[in-house]
C-alpha cells in the first residue's frame, strides 16, 4: 500500500509570532499549556499561555493582536465618510453602536446638531444592537459550557433581529448605516410593527433561557464564585460595562453622562453582587430586558421629521437635485471625492457599548481625511485585566470566564 503524502509545497519555518512572558511556572513541576489562538472558546483569536499546577492556573500570559487589521492606519487614508465600513467592523456584534459613536464624534468636531428624529432613532437602534450583542455573548458562553439548546434559542431570536435590520439597512451583520449628520435612510413601512413582534418573541425565548439556566445546578456550580473581582480592582484594571456593573457599581455612561436620547428615558442599571461569572451573565440578561423596555418607550417617543440635518457640509443632497442642479452636483461630488471638510481640532467621544466604554479620539487638521484616528476599545483594556479573573482558578474555569468577558476580536485588536 503506497502512503499518501502531505502537501509539501510550502516549506517554511514557522517562527513563533509571540514571545511568552515566562518559560517556566513558579514551581518546577508546573505545566505550561497553550490555549489558542485558533480555539473554539477563545472567541476567535486570543492566545492564553497558562502555567498550571495540576488543574489550578498559577500564572497566565494573554496574547492578543492576531486580528490586528491595521484599522487606524487604514482610516488615515480614507475620507470621513469612506471609513464608516471599517468602523462597523470593530465590535461586529453590535455594528450600529460603533457607527453612531463615530458619527457623533465627527459631528462634535464639525459642530453639527442632528435632528430629533435621528437622535431617537439612533438611540432605538443602539439599544437594538445592544440586544443583539448580549444575545451573541450569552449564546456563545452558554454553548461553551455545553448548553447547546440555549445557544440555538438565542441564535434564533438573534436571527430575527438580523433579518429585521437587514430590512432597514441592507445588511445583516455589518450595517454601515450611520452617516455624519444623520442616517443612511429612514424606516421602511411596517418596520415598527415587526419590531413589536420581535420584542414579544424575544420575551418568550429569553423566558426559556431563564428557565433553563438561572437555577441550573451545573450552571451555578460552574459560574458562581468563579472569576471574582472587586469594584476597586475592576476600576484599577480598566474594566467598564457589564463587568464593572457586575461587581456592584452602577457606572453606566447612559446614566452618568447621557448622550443621544438617554436623558429622557426611564430605565434601570442592573448591577451584580459579587463580580463573578454568574453575575455577569445575569447583568447581561437584565440589560437586555432594560433595552427592550427602552425600545418600547422610544417607539412611542419617536417624532416625525427629517433624518438628516439640512447642512451642506456633511449631508448629501437629494438625488433629484443632484441630477438637475449644478450646485448640488458639485456639493455631492466634493463630499464624495474629498470628504466633508472637518475643521481642525480634536475630540474624544465615548458611548456605552455593550462591552463598556467605546471611545473615539479623532484629530483633524482640516480637510476630508482624519489625521489621527484612535479607538479606545473596551475589549482591549479588558484583555489587560483578564488575568486577574483567571489566575487562581482552574483550567476549566477559563472557558466561562472568557465567555463572560465577551472579548470581541475586531474591537480588541482593531
Amino acid at each position: 500500500m503506497t502512503r499518501l503524502t502531505l502537501d509539501t509545497r510550502v516549506k517554511a519555518t514557522l517562527p513563533d509570532p509571540v514571545r511568552p512572558a515566562f518559560e517556566r511556572g513558579e514551581r518546577d513541576d508546573a505545566v505550561i499549556v497553550n490555549i489558542g489562538p485558533s480555539h473554539p472558546a477563545t472567541h476567535g483569536t486570543i492566545q492564553v499561555i497558562a502555567a498550571l499546577d495540576g488543574e489550578k492556573v498559577q500564572r497566565v500570559d494573554v496574547h492578543c493582536g492576531y486580528l490586528h487589521r491595521g484599522f487606524e492606519k487604514e482610516c488615515e487614508d480614507h475620507t470621513w465618510h469612506n471609513l464608516i465600513p471599517y468602523v462597523d467592523r470593530l465590535n461586529y456584534c453590535s455594528g450600529l453602536i460603533n457607527d453612531f459613536a463615530y458619527c457623533e464624534a465627527v459631528e462634535t468636531l464639525m459642530d453639527v446638531e442632528i435632528t430629533p428624529r435621528c437622535r431617537y432613532l439612533r438611540t432605538l437602534l443602539s439599544e437594538y444592537s445592544r440586544i443583539a450583542d448580549h444575545l451573541t455573548c450569552v449564546a456563545a458562553s452558554l454553548m461553551e459550557l455545553g448548553a447547546m439548546t440555549a445557544f440555538l434559542y438565542l441564535v434564533m431570536i438573534r436571527d430575527y433581529v438580523y433579518e429585521h435590520l437587514a430590512d432597514l439597512t441592507g445588511a445583516r451583520v455589518t450595517y454601515t448605516y450611520g452617516r455624519i449628520g444623520g442616517l443612511a435612510r429612514d424606516l421602511p413601512a411596517g418596520w415598527l410593527k415587526r419590531l413589536n413582534e420581535i420584542l414579544d418573541q424575544y420575551e418568550v425565548f429569553v423566558g426559556r433561557i431563564h428557565g433553563l439556566m438561572d437555577r441550573n445546578r451545573i450552571f451555578i456550580d460552574r459560574t458562581r464564585d468563579v472569576g471574582v473581582i472587586s469594584t476597586a480592582d475592576a476600576i484599577n484594571w480598566g474594566f467598564t460595562g457589564p463587568i464593572l456593573r457586575s461587581t456592584g457599581a452602577a457606572i453606566d455612561l447612559r446614566k452618568d453622562a447621557p448622550y443621544l436620547a438617554y436623558g429622557e428615558l426611564d430605565f434601570d442599571v442592573p448591577v451584580g453582587i459579587k463580580g463573578d461569572n454568574y453575575d455577569r451573565y445575569y447583568v447581561r440578561m437584565r440589560e437586555m430586558d432594560e433595552s427592550v423596555y427602552m425600545i418600547r418607550q422610544l417607539i412611542d417617543l419617536l417624532p416625525e421629521g427629517p433624518i438628516n440635518v439640512d447642512d451642506r457640509r456633511c449631508t448629501l443632497p437629494e438625488k433629484h437635485l443632484v441630477y438637475t442642479e449644478i450646485e448640488s452636483l458639485i456639493n455631492h461630488f466634493k463630499l464624495i471625492m474629498d470628504g466633508p471638510d472637518v475643521p481642525a481640532g480634536e475630540v474624544y467621544t465615548a458611548h456605552e457599548a455593550p462591552n463598556g466604554e467605546l471611545g473615539f479620539y479623532l484629530v483633524s487638521t482640516g480637510g476630508g481625511t482624519p489625521y489621527k484616528f484612535h479607538v479606545r476599545s473596551p475589549s482591549f483594556v479588558h484583555m489587560g485585566g483578564v488575568q486577574r479573573l483567571i489566575e487562581g482558578y482552574q483550567l476549566a474555569d477559563i472557558i466561562p470566564t472568557f465567555g463572560s468577558v465577551n472579548m470581541i476580536g475586531g474591537e480588541c485588536d482593531r
Binding site: 509545497r9 517554511a12 493582536g65 490586528h68 484599577n236 474624544y348 479620539y361 484612535h374 483594556v381
Partner: protein, 157 residues
C-alpha cells in the same frame, strides 16, 4: 459642578509655562514629560480620576518635538473626563509609565510602544502586543508606508 472642578484643575494642574484649553467640552492640559507622573498622581488622589481610559500618541513629523503622547482619564465620582498631553522628541521618546498607578496602563502602553515607538520607562514588559516578534518599525508613524507588509510565512507561488 463639573465646571467648578474643571476650573480648579486648570488652576492647580497647569504648571508655569504649561497650557490648558477647553476642547469640545473637555479640559486638555499639556505638561512637560518630567512632570507627567506627578500630574497623574495628583489627578488620581486629589481629583479622583480613578479610571484610566487611554494612552495614545499623535505623530507630527514636521514639528519638534515630534510626538504628542495623549492620556484620557475619567472620574467615576465626578463623571467628567480630562485629557493630558505631553510632548516628546523623536530622538528620545521616553515618558514615565503609569503602571504603578493603574493596572490597565500595562497593555495600553504596550500598544502605544508598538505603534509609535514611545518608550515607557518603568513598564516591566514592553513586548509587541498587536504586532509580532520580528516586525521592524512602528506602523502608525507617518513615515511608515501603509502597504509595507512583513510576512512571516513565505507566499505560495
Amino acid at each position: 459642578m463639573a465646571a467648578a472642578i474643571l476650573a480648579l484643575m486648570q488652576q492647580r494642574l497647569v504648571p508655569a509655562g504649561g497650557e490648558a484649553s477647553l476642547s469640545h467640552g473637555m479640559l486638555a492640559v499639556v505638561v512637560p514629560p518630567t512632570d507627567l507622573l506627578g500630574a497623574v498622581c495628583r489627578l488620581k488622589s486629589e481629583f479622583a480620576f480613578d479610571l484610566f481610559l487611554d494612552v495614545t500618541a499623535v505623530d507630527w513629523p514636521k514639528r519638534t518635538p515630534r510626538f504628542d503622547v495623549v492620556y484620557h482619564f475619567y472620574s467615576t465620582t465626578h463623571r467628567i473626563r480630562v485629557r493630558l498631553k505631553t510632548r516628546v522628541p523623536e530622538g528620545e521618546p521616553i515618558v514615565d509609565s503609569l503602571v504603578s498607578l493603574y493596572g490597565s496602563a500595562n497593555f495600553m502602553e504596550r500598544e502605544c510602544h508598538d505603534m509609535y515607538g514611545i518608550v515607557f520607562r518603568g513598564n516591566p514588559d514592553l513586548r509587541p502586543i498587536l504586532l509580532y516578534e520580528g516586525f521592524v518599525g512602528h506602523p502608525l508613524r507617518k513615515d511608515y508606508p501603509k502597504l509595507q507588509e512583513q510576512p512571516l510565512v513565505p507566499y505560495r507561488t
